[in-house]
């Protein structure tokens, strides 16, 4: 079966669907090609942080890019809710990174200071807070004796990543995108200024392709003249039963979701594409969580899962248009949830206009080859 489309987005995860939504809002009718129920699907295994803290250490542009997304998020969440009825449960609560013991507090302090000073402006506006601050911020929570304090980022928040994906899917189809699951792309053939996108079900001819395929990127990128090499890093998570809310601010190791479950994480493992969870890592995460909040000791773990982060060599996003094949764009990052707001806005605006501007220039992959 052969068909044509105004634009094809390869990948229906948080990155692909945010871009598809943005394009659809701008009057384009993208065809989104996605894999099936059993795919790796990093977007389905996400901690749910909308997080500025720690982003762009050594690459200030990434810090500014993330800050802009964090600023856009509240309106973005409202827009999705109003348009689709799906509540992403976004809360801009501020975010923490707990410090257990002096050494952790010192190390964290250094990072906060370094990142504050790395550019003329400070997008993070983060600071260190001590135990008394924590108690004041979260009076219902008893912290373990080792908790000395935390770094605090006022622009951080959290969201339900599954609701976000659901909302993006609903929004993009409502706005005019076509979503096709179980349609993995086998190859893309550039041909006379257009692209032939091959799937098992047929070929789609289009003038514009956005490769937002997460771990599917490596198999297809050379067809389009890209050379990025998306790496897989495993992160494991523990999920508890639903519990009564306690006013907990999200932290990068523990947060309480809108449903009341606690998510506890994580690991950074180089294990190829293995998404199994290991009891040993679970035990380490459990021990740390109990040190932070002792009452979590009796919380029951209902599920563990592992996701494969889509990491570039320096951990920062890559956005670029193919030099060899104009009209083909690549978008890859590991913070697809945090960046969803800016992806649906600034990034899509740039892709739509056909020119990725100066603010996106630092994200070109040439920086990775220069290292």
């Amino acid at each position: 079966m052969n068909e044509t489309a105004e634009c094809v987005v390869i990948g229906g995860g948080v990155v692909g669907s945010a871009i598809a939504y943005g394009l659809a809002k701008r009057g384009v009718k993208p065809l989104v090609l996605d894999e099936g129920d059993g795919a790796i699907r990093s977007s389905r295994v996400n901690f749910g942080l909308v997080w500025l803290l720690g982003k762009g250490d050594g690459m200030p542009a990434y810090g500014f890019w993330t800050r802009r997304s964090a600023d856009l998020w509240p309106a973005f969440a409202e827009e999705l809710m109003a348009y689709t009825g799906v509540d992403t449960c976004y809360v801009k609560s501020g975010g923490l990174s707990y410090c257990l013991g002096e050494a952790e507090y010192e190390t964290r302090s250094e990072i906060v200071n370094r990142m504050r000073a790395q550019a003329e402006n400070d997008p993070y506006e983060a600071c260190m807070i001590d135990r008394r601050d924590l108690v004041r911020l979260m009076p219902q929570v008893n912290f373990g004796p080792d908790v000395l304090g935390a770094s605090y980022g006022p622009h951080d928040g959290h969201v339900s990543p599954l609701n976000l994906l659901h909302a993006l899917h609903a929004a993009m189809t409502k706005a005019g995108a076509t979503y096709r699951a179980e349609s993995p792309v086998t190859e893309v053939r550039p041909s006379g200024g257009r692209f032939e996108v091959h799937t098992a079900k047929g070929v789609v001819s289009t003038p514009k392709v956005v490769l937002a395929a997460g771990h599917g990127t490596n198999a297809l990128e050379s067809d389009l003249g890209f050379d990025v090499d998306v790496l897989a890093e495993r992160g494991q998570i523990l999920v508890t039963e639903r519990m009564a809310p306690v006013g907990l601010l999200p932290a990068n190791g523990v947060r309480q979701t809108a449903e009341g479950t606690f998510l506890i994480g994580t690991t950074n493992e180089d294990v190829g594409y293995d998404t199994s969870t290991t009891p040993q890592a679970g035990a380490v995460m459990a021990r740390r969580a109990i040190r932070v909040i002792p009452a979590l000791a009796h919380a029951r773990i209902v599920r563990t899962w592992a996701g494969l982060r889509t990491l570039t060599k320096d951990g920062c996003p890559v956005y670029e248009e193919s030099a060899q094949y104009p009209g083909a764009f690549l978008a890859t990052c590991h913070s697809g949830v945090t960046l969803a707001a800016i992806h649906a806005n600034d990034l899509t605006e740039a892709i739509h206009s056909g020119k990725l501007g100066a603010n996106i220039e630092p994200f070109h992959s040439t920086r990775l080859r220069a290292q």
Partner: protein
């Protein structure tokens, strides 16, 4: 306490106990772990307390159970009751790691071979009002009776289809319990279709005779029996008060304080799916079953499955399959050779074959009514997370292609039961909505822990 064994059996029902008894008897270092405090599984639940029973419809069952338990306890196998398995790892270097907990702290056992004998569960059939207090399974009522001796109260209605329904009704009446009525949902067409298997079934005439005798007892006791019931609803405000049922197109309503449901039993496949063993869809029994060879070996090296968890065959056949799995474990471990295994297995197979001819007949007679797999939109399918059939259908309409994407959109299957209850009914709904075959749809991915454990238990896992 040792943590390394040659053979680890999960489940203390007839299959598990038999496997452990055989293996230990051959000198294999064997451990049996089970979540209950006493052996017997569900069919022989609390059987040791019934050792003194001399009369009643179940006395032969009790005695059989007591014998099996006695042999198991004397076998030399290590027995770890009150022990929950929460993760099973693929074998590595010839060892399977089995993560367990006793409720206080997690631990890991190593075994060269593992037998999963976790049995069966009642098929969950969502109906309107099934989450109301007062609605339970027939199996639940039977467990209450086996463990407390208490029988059914006034206001009890029983609804569904299958041999257990009649066995329990007879047990309850014998114990002085009250049954207001029985709603038999067996479709009339099943009787005709089952007749095809009547001749082989006659070889198990003892089962047939017993089944008919149980039904006759119930009728003689004057319990009203309504046949060919097409739909059931539980009604009440916060608690069961009435049962509505449809028979030949007509709805009727009765007062009820307890509604016991039974729509057959299906293998508990949670553990076998967690190791990614191959499963197949059994169309007449309408359930997923692990793919096993004649010795119970699954598609995963080192792991076998036996008993009702490997396909519903009943207690007697389960015990024999357990014995075969025990012999095979001994062979795989090098304790006995193939010839000795086959020699010992031959009489067991003869016994096993004696109990199988009736299965096809029973499976066909009690194949569930199709209407029960298409609950109305407002019926709760996922009890834990309160997800209705309508929300599942909506997720499919939004592009969810299978159970895992549907789960991501609705939270169906994310509660503490981990999809045990809602997995099959949700898959049936997806299959119907998308016009797919059940083995294309599949079930939710199973993730550890196999049952919830506390952070503290996990934190205490020895390093």
């Amino acid at each position: 306490m040792s943590k390394t064994f040659d053979f680890l059996v999960i489940g203390a029902g007839p299959a598990g106990m038999s496997a452990a008894t055989v293996a230990a008897g051959l000198g294999v270092s064997t451990v049996l772990v089970d979540e209950q405090p006493a052996p017997g599984g569900q069919i022989y639940r609390n059987v040791e307390a019934h050792a003194g029973d001399t009369r009643g419809v179940s006395v032969a069952d009790w005695q059989r159970g007591v014998t099996l338990v006695g042999e198991f306890r004397a076998s030399g196998a290590i027995y770890r009751p009150g022990t929950q398995v929460w993760q099973l790892d693929a074998p590595r270097d010839g060892s399977c790691m089995v993560y367990v907990t006793d409720g206080e702290q997690a631990d890991v056992l190593r075994a060269r071979r593992v037998l999963i004998a976790t049995g069966a569960m009642e098929r969950a059939v969502p109906i309107s009002g099934w989450t109301l207090p007062g609605v339970m399974t027939v199996g639940a009522a039977q467990i209450l009776y086996k463990t407390t001796g208490r029988a059914t109260q006034a206001g009890t209605w029983i609804a569904g289809s299958g041999p257990l329904l009649w066995l329990f009704a007879a047990q309850a009446l014998e114990a002085g319990g009250k049954i207001e009525g029985i709603l038999d949902t067996t479709p009339r067409i099943n009787y005709a279709q089952a007749l095809r298997y009547a001749v082989p079934a006659l070889r198990n005439h003892a089962y047939l005779t017993r089944g008919l005798a149980l039904q006759a007892r119930v009728k003689r006791a004057g319990v009203p029996i309504v046949k060919d019931v097409g739909a059931i609803e539980a009604k009440g405000d916060g608690v069961l008060a009435r049962v509505r049922f449809r028979m030949r197109g007509q709805w009727q309503e009765v007062q009820a304080s307890t509604l016991l449901l039974h729509h057959g039993v299906v293998p508990s496949v949670h553990a076998t799916r967690s190791i990614h063993a191959d499963h197949r869809w059994a169309p007449v029994q309408r359930c997923f079953v692990p793919v096993v060879d004649e010795w119970g070996n699954t598609s995963v090296d080192g792991y076998a499955a036996a008993g009702d968890g490997a396909g519903i065959v009943g207690a007697e056949a389960s015990a024999r399959k357990g014995q075969l799995a025990g012999l095979e474990a001994a062979r795989a471990l090098g304790t006995i050779d193939r010839a000795r295994r086959d020699e010992r297995a031959a009489p067991v197979r003869v016994e096993l074959e004696r109990h199988l001819p009736i299965r096809a007949f029973l499976d066909q007679l009690f194949t569930p009514r199709a209407g029960f797999f298409a609950p109305a939109d407002d019926v709760l399918v996922c009890r834990c997370e309160s997800v209705t059939a309508g929300r599942i259908r909506e997720a499919i309409g939004l592009g969810a292609m299978g159970p895992n994407q549907m789960k991501a959109f609705t939270r169906c299957g994310m509660g503490p039961c981990q999809g045990r209850m809602c997995g099959l009914p949700a898959a049936e709904i997806i299959a119907r909505e998308r016009g797919m075959a059940m083995d294309e749809v599949g079930l939710f991915n199973v993730r550890p822990p196999l049952k919830p454990i506390s952070l503290q238990e996990l934190a205490a896992l020895p390093e």
